[in-house]
Subunit: 382 residues, 2 copies
């Protein structure tokens, strides 16, 4: 078991009506003015926007609206917000949405405290020294961003999808009300399931030191995601399934599953980020395509762990059977498993490969993910 530091000070307010606490929490941190980030205008139709602004008014908190943040959030939008709050300062960032809005909020929070261009923080030209306090209200469970330090943003000009991470980016408070997630469409539900499973298995399969306890916790999360996704596909109003799905999502990437593990990396995310950056595919959809192909390439490097996965998750025996079972399950729930389902074909592979190889340098695993390896995985995913 590897040495580690575990520190996660985010307060999670989980459950029904918890959105009613947002004013109180902001006020406790002495916030008088906030940038209110969100995605589509849907939150104005379903009443959530009114709930939030009433809360802010009640606690005497001013706000600047900043809507229109899209999935696979883009750098241009982050820069726009930073420019806005450098002209009209706020004391905190409030994110209302899923991981894309929250990741944008984190980048805005760090960028507001940085003198140069925010992208410098992504490409390692500058370090994050501080950030505005971040508060989150989640309307989709997938990325785990509500309880971690990470944010992923796409630079549309350079076609790079890169991340930042810093302790200052832990949200102070994250509100997770599963009822607010009930209207998530089925396609985004199954993409989210793939994303949570991806967060869970990256370390599980790639770590050079993987304690059994950590493997068991990962299996607990994956089995919960599988079980609850199936319930939600047949009954989208099932609160308990929605809630377990959401909490599994948070636990999958809050540091718990990788504490004490060593040498792990994120190859599926690394490859998928190129698909998102180049073709703007939904992140989870890209992952469910890459994962089976990556597993087929990787399993011989860590056969025992793949056998363990096969047994503990799908009650089958061999590594290969486990991989097939996961691919079949992705097909069953309706998340894609082939690039062709996203209209990506053989002719696109060189462009994707080049982009992945650039990511591999940033992920520090270019010695493993050579052009040949990446091509093998992508060919298999066609």
């Amino acid at each position: 078991m590897e040495n580690f530091t575990f520190y996660n000070p985010t307060k999670i307010e989980f459950g029904t009506n918890k959105e009613q606490l947002i004013g109180q929490h902001l006020a406790q941190f002495g916030v008088k003015k906030v940038l209110l980030c969100y995605g589509s205008e849907r939150i104005k139709q379903d009443g959530l926007f009114t709930t939030i602004t009433s809360q802010l008014n009640e606690h005497g908190i001013e706000f600047i609206e900043f809507g229109g943040i899209v999935s696979n959030p883009v750098l241009s939008k982050v820069r726009e917000a930073i420019k806005l709050i450098k002209a009209t300062p706020v004391e905190a960032i409030l994110s209302v949405g899923g991981g894309s809005v929250l990741d944008s909020a984190k980048a805005i929070a760090a960028g507001a405290k940085h003198e140069g261009d925010v992208w410098d923080l992504f490409i390692g030209k500058a370090q994050i020294k501080s950030a505005l306090p971040i508060f989150a209200m989640m309307t989709l469970a997938a990325t785990g961003s509500e309880m971690n330090t990470t944010a992923v943003v796409t630079n549309q000009e350079t076609k790079e999808k890169l991340f930042i991470a810093d302790e200052s980016l832990f949200p102070k408070v994250s509100i997770v009300n599963p009822e607010l997630m009930q209207s998530v469409p089925k396609d985004y539900l199954v993409y989210s399931a793939a994303d949570i499973i991806a967060h869970s298995i990256e370390g599980y399969f790639t770590a050079t030191d993987q304690p059994h306890l950590q493997s068991r916790i990962v299996e607990a999360i994956i089995n919960t995601v599988i079980e609850t996704t199936e319930v939600l596909l047949s009954d989208s109003t099932n609160y308990n399934a929605r809630a377990e799905f959401a909490w599994a999502s948070t636990l999958a990437l809050n540091g718990l599953t990788t504490a004490g593990t060593a040498g792990f990396n994120f190859p599926n995310h690394m490859i998928e980020h190129s698909l998102s950056a180049l073709f703007n595919v939904p992140h989870g959809a890209g992952l469910s395509i890459i994962i089976p192909a990556w597993m087929k390439w990787h399993h011989s490097h860590n056969t025992d762990q793949f056998k363990r996965f096969a047994k503990q998750v799908f009650a089958v025996k061999t590594a290969e059977e486990g991989i097939v079972a996961l691919e079949n399950w992705f097909n069953k729930i309706g998340t894609p498993t082939r690039l062709s389902q996203l209209n990506i074909t053989q002719k696109d592979l060189p462009l994707i490969t080049d982009n992945v190889l650039n990511n591999a340098k940033i992920f520090g695993i270019y010695h493993i993910y050579t052009k040949e390896v990446v091509n093998t995985i992508l060919q298999d995913a066609l």
Copy 2:
């Protein structure tokens, strides 16, 4: 799934040589003078005391020594420390030892900020308003106190073993170096295993709302404790087993396993506290006696969960088989399962029952744990 707030800001420094960081962490909190609490003088023989005091000296931190804290820590000692630091103020409490030292340190930290008698905080006569910052260095893994808000102390005069809990009692930093636990004697290792299992199953079996994800995490912890205890009994120097045991211990009582559950209580602890208070038995030894007897009484109230436990932990089928398997396992590792093994006999039961009934009021479950029920469980444990 029940609404919950999850908040745990303790920083865990886990692994080899982490004790070398204590001076740095205290200095980061601006601490200039600390009360150094410990148990036996063993830490002076094995070099740990020197390591710590060198660290303190290096960072210009003064300290007052306060040794001699015993297992089942006592109120008189807590009062003694509070008197000492009210006369000679310190800015923080540093605990070096297991749960008994840390629980004393927490009571001292709260008592130092309280104007009246510290016991008032235990019996509900007064509320904790603040506490001195607490830092912990663990030499035994069992209680989970290193990452929670709770402290348990025995009042020898009234024969009450009671607890306090408050957010101010989260240790700021807890250092968990499994190597410092290598010298724990085998009897205390197996008592600790029983204690961790007790923390895991109390909620698991008693909750009225128990999400599957939480059950799975509990099973991950219990299976890890079983596996690593067996390894350590045959090879006490196995670092990975010691480390997984320690991390399982921390996770078993840091709020993770009960998040989203409802209506749970701690009947095994409630009954055991009476054994400790009256006969000063090791807490874990008392628990391994009470648990099988309590399970035999309780299982018909929650048969499905007992069947689940039987299957997931011992790969047997019925509730009864699961209970027998756990009792057999306790016998196998050498932690007691009968009161007679601690020389407690039939004639002692009325005294124990009275004490338990007093605890039942404080635990808020006297309507379930009537005299008859408590007597049934104790008779079965003879």
